[in-house]
Symmetry: C2
Subunit: 137 residues, 2 copies
C-alpha cells in the first residue's frame, strides 16, 4: 500500500506529504504558479530513477562494488498530443571510480530493470524505457 | 521533455534534482537505509495527485469556485507479485467550504481525469484509477 496527501496551500501550490516527509510542489509563473517547488509531472521520473538507483546500489554493495560517484539521469520525452505524458524514457546510469567492473554494473542494472524495480514495471506499460551505462573518468 | 538527476549520497540515500529543486530520498532502516527522506515508489502517487490537484484548482478558479480547503489523497494498492507496482489507485478529492457547488466540482475533476492530466493518462495504462469527491463539514 501507499498513501500520499497533496494539500492545497494557495494559488497553484500544494504540499505533498509522503511517509511523514513534506515536499512543496508548485507550477511555474506562466501557468499561474509561483515556482515554489518542483512541478508534479517530473516526479514520475524521480520515482523511477530513485527506485532503480536504490536497486542498483543495493545489488552492487552485495557484489562488493563501490563506485566513488553514482548518478541516475532520467530523461522523459512527452507525447505531442494532449494529455501529454512520457512515452519515451531514457535512463543514464553514470558511474565514476577506479577499475569498475562493467559486467557487474550491467548485471545489477539488468536485474533492476528486468526483475526488481516496480516503478519500471508500472511505467513500461505506457513508455518505452531504454538505458545506457556511462563510466566517467 | 523532462529531466531529473538522482545522485547517490551514500548507503541507500539519493538527492533528487528536478527543475532546480532538491529532494532527498532514502530507504527505510529495514532495507539498509536511514529513513532520511521519502521512498521513491510513492512519488508516483505524488506525481499523480499533484497533476490532477493543479488541474482541478485551476479549473475551479476559472469557474470562480474557491474552496476553503482542498486535499487530494491518493491511495495505491500494490500487486502481490514482484516487481510490485500500484495496480489500483484511488483518489479522494476532499473539499471544505460554504455552499460548494457539487456539479462544478465534478465537472472540474472529470475534465482533469478524462482530458487534462498527463500523469493519469500515463498511469491508467498500468493501474485502475478510481476517484471520489468528499465534502467535509
Amino acid at each position: 500500500m501507499g498513501k500520499v496527501n497533496i494539500k492545497w496551500t494557495g494559488k497553484m501550490a500544494f504540499n505533498v506529504e509522503v511517509g511523514g516527509f513534506n515536499i512543496p510542489i508548485d507550477a511555474t509563473e506562466k501557468v499561474g504558479g509561483m515556482n515554489g517547488g518542483p512541478q508534479p509531472k517530473p516526479l514520475t521520473l524521480a520515482s523511477l530513477g530513485g527506485c532503480t538507483g536504490m536497486d542498483v546500489i543495493s545489488i552492487l554493495t552485495k557484489m562488493r562494488v563501490k563506485p566513488d560517484y553514482f548518478n541516475v539521469e532520467v530523461n522523459g520525452e512527452l507525447t505531442d498530443e494532449h494529455p501529454k505524458y512520457y512515452h519515451k524514457i531514457h535512463i543514464r546510469y553514470i558511474f565514476r571510480g577506479r577499475d569498475l567492473p562493467m559486467a557487474k554494473l550491467e548485471k545489477a542494472i539488468n536485474l533492476s530493470q528486468d526483475r526488481y524495480c516496480g516503478v519500471t514495471e508500472m511505467l513500461n506499460k505506457a513508455a518505452e524505457i531504454t538505458h545506457e551505462i556511462v563510466i566517467e573518468e
